[in-house]
């Protein structure tokens, strides 16, 4: 077995801080293996992580690593990619960090679609602080802050992150190893924002309360709960493991509506004098005419003039050429109406 991925780990800092049986070790190892396979090194890769057990992952990577305040990991990663597009930016963090306190940043960073890869160690609990319910905790789960069972439905990340193309959302577990490796690799090579939701176990602070004796029992539980779906998918169902991705929808700019009105030659229009025009002021069922730049327009169909001799300061039956200077609209409003004559 190729053990060269160990170059990417700070082995001098081992043993690490995580509990025996925790899934984070598997995440760290497999990400390191995938990064090594792609030939990335400390010269072109940066690891960014947030707070929590999984936030410690970046500190064990032999890379330049940034350990951000709680929840701010995505903003930080996006900015690093903006300033240094030559760097590969990987985010190693947890579900509480990314989806709860960092929920706003998750929405907006995914919308801006920077080329970063996010590995979310989704253990459905706040582990480091002792096992409080989080936004990904399944409904009904008993935790130390939901002693009668979590009352709310969990956040559906699969729905949230696939609502708008382009997207890359993969769900896998630390138990389904080959699928897990495949998801990591696909996410790393995806151009754009890619999110791998890795369902992981927290045996000490979640599993035991749920009645599991060992981490292995939790893995078996993942096997019962989830099943792998093959092939290209747009979306993933509730308990499906797989990759849902979509490339950018082609943006078709809305075609500009250009209504061409046939130009009526001046000479063919009926001549009006100002006195004649003055009679068409809408009174007694007569049409409403106004003059503009030498032409006479029929404004009878205007909803603003309806049944009135005037609309604000515009008086029917007058030459309104000078009114346009003080009007809040342009002359295109006049041209919408049919020309019926010319002013002589």
């Amino acid at each position: 077995m190729d053990r060269s991925y160990k170059d990417l780990l700070k082995l001098r800092r081992f043993p690490h801080t995580w509990c025996p049986g925790c899934g984070i070790g598997a995440v760290l190892k497999n990400v390191a293996m995938a990064v090594k396979e792609l030939g990335w090194s400390d010269k072109n890769t940066v690891a960014v992580s947030g707070i929590g057990c999984s936030g410690r992952m970046s500190g064990y990577m032999n890379l330049d690593a940034v350990h951000t305040p709680h929840g701010r990991v995505l903003t930080s990663a996006e900015t690093i990619k903006t300033i240094r597009p030559d760097l590969n930016v990987i985010v190693l963090s947890g579900d509480g960090d990314l989806t709860s306190i960092g929920g706003n940043h998750l929405l907006h960073t995914s919308r801006r679609n920077p080329d970063i890869t996010v590995f979310c160690n989704d253990n459905e609990i706040y582990g480091l602080t002792g096992g409080q319910a989080g936004p990904t905790t399944p409904r009904g789960t008993k935790t130390i802050t939901s002693p009668r069972g979590e009352p709310y439905s969990p956040l559906r990340l699969g729905h949230l992150l696939t609502q708008q193309a382009p997207y890359f959302y993969a769900r896998t577990t630390v138990y389904h190893l080959n699928h897990f490796k495949k998801c990591i690799h696909e996410a790393l090579v995806w151009k754009g924002f890619s999110f791998v939701d890795i369902v992981s176990d927290c045996i000490e602070l979640n599993g035991r309360r749920l009645g599991f004796k060992t981490a292995h029992q939790m893995f078996k539980w993942f096997d019962e709960r989830f099943h792998i779906v093959e092939g290209e998918r747009d979306h993933l169902g509730e308990n499906e493991l797989g990759i849902a991705r979509a490339v950018e929808e082609e943006v078709v700019p809305p075609a500009e509506k250009v209504e061409e009105k046939p130009e009526i030659p001046m000479a063919s229009l009926k001549p009006f004098t100002l006195e004649e025009l003055h009679r068409f002021d809408g009174t007694g069922g007569k049409p409403i005419y106004i003059a503009y730049k030498g032409k006479v327009y029929d404004l009878s169909s205007s909803p603003l003039f309806q049944g009135e001799k005037r609309m604000r300061c515009h008086i029917a039956g007058k030459d309104l050429t000078k009114d346009i200077d003080v009007a809040p609209h342009g002359e295109d409003l006049v041209f919408k109406f049919p020309a019926v004559g010319r002013l002589v």
Partner: protein, 348 residues
């Protein structure tokens, strides 16, 4: 070329002069114009990047991350946004990210009186984030100074390896003056920190030793880290003991004012001596002690309920009198009457 420039534009141009290549911000009066300037400038200069973030939290984190990634970066906001940025400000001190935060103050707390000017975020620059830290803060009082001090703030940031703060107020942000920015000389300190992708360092907000190893149970490491931080900041701040002192012969009263209040009371310089601190934090202890020694009465005129006055009292170990200009009221006549009242009180 002389032209009409606003305080906000001068701040932006000062940052560009200092070599800034990243701006992150969120719209807030009275600094939205800086965000707008950044957007326009980045259109024409693709090497200048900007982000209109989803909130000030993200804007501040982006500013510090950009600094770690190798860009000179800055952000601008007002009091309520600055409150959201406090988390990142603390982080910036621990990960040693040089950058600049502009806080153009308005009446608070909370939304307060948008957008009336105030000077009430002085404690927030020093104590808004958790723990001990020692930011360097400057406060200009003219458009030209906005330009110069922004550049100086960038230099102080590089020297102290931390975020520095440029204070302003809503008056100053929207103050238009005729200045020649191209002709204004500034010194530029080059980038002091190696950018990311050069090794195996860990930039963490957790207390760590020199190697970047997280050490969370050793008070000795923490003490050593904090004293080093303080020492670095003191050395950087010492280079910029900026103040303006207008002595008035025969005056027994010294007025202390900064920012827009110093402009308002400048016409009182024929009656009183005036001292204007430009470096707001660390407090100019030595200078204040020297200047205040020869005065019987010291009156601090400021746009808050004695935030700077309490620092002055600590620095010179003496009681001072206060004229707090609250709620955006900076009328000279009112200030004058308050000063008279203070002085009457002492002769009784």
């Amino acid at each position: 070329m002389k032209r009409l420039v606003s305080g906000n534009e001068a701040i932006f141009q000062g940052a560009v002069r200092a070599g800034a290549s990243y701006f992150a911000g969120y719209p807030i009066s009275p600094t939205s114009e800086i965000l707008q300037q950044a957007a326009l400038y980045s259109e024409e200069n693709p090497e200048f990047r900007f982000l209109q973030a989803e909130d000030e939290i993200a804007a501040a984190i982006a500013t510090i991350s950009a600094s770690l990634a190798g860009a000179k970066s800055f952000s601008a906001t007002s009091g309520p946004g600055f409150s959201l940025m406090q988390e990142a400000l603390g982080w910036g001190h621990v990960v040693e990210a040089p950058c600049v935060f502009v806080n153009s103050m308005r009446v608070g707390p909370s939304t307060g009186m948008p957008t009336q000017p105030a000077q009430s975020d002085l404690l927030q620059i020093k104590a808004g984030s958790a723990g001990d830290y020692y930011p360097i803060a400057f406060y200009p009082n003219s458009v030209r100074e906005c330009f110069q001090l922004t550049a100086i703030a960038f230099n102080a940031a590089e020297e102290s390896l931390s975020p520095t703060i440029l204070l302003a107020d809503a008056f100053l942000s929207h103050l238009y003056e005729i200045v020649d920015l191209e002709d204004t000389a500034t010194e530029v300190v080059p980038r002091s920190k190696e950018s990311l992708g050069r090794g195996q360092r860990l930039f963490t907000g957790t207390v760590h030793d020199k190697m970047g190893n997280v050490k969370t149970n050793d008070p000795e490491i923490y003490r050593r880290w904090l004293w080093e931080l303080k020492d670095r900041h003191d050395r950087a701040a010492e280079k910029y003991p900026l103040f303006e002192y207008l002595p008035r012969k025969g005056s027994e009263t010294l007025l202390i004012a900064f920012g827009i209040t110093s402009r308002v009371i400048s016409s009182l310089k024929d009656r009183f001596s005036i001292f204007r601190p430009i470096r707001i934090y660390p407090v100019l202890e030595k200078e204040l002690n020297e200047v205040t020694r020869s005065y019987r009465h010291i009156i601090v005129v400021e746009g808050s309920d004695g935030q700077y006055a309490s620092w002055v009292e600590c620095a010179i170990c003496r009681k001072v009198m206060r004229v707090p200009c609250l709620g955006g009221g900076f009328k000279l006549r009112w200030i004058q009457s308050q000063i008279e009242e203070c002085l009457r009180g002492t002769t009784k």
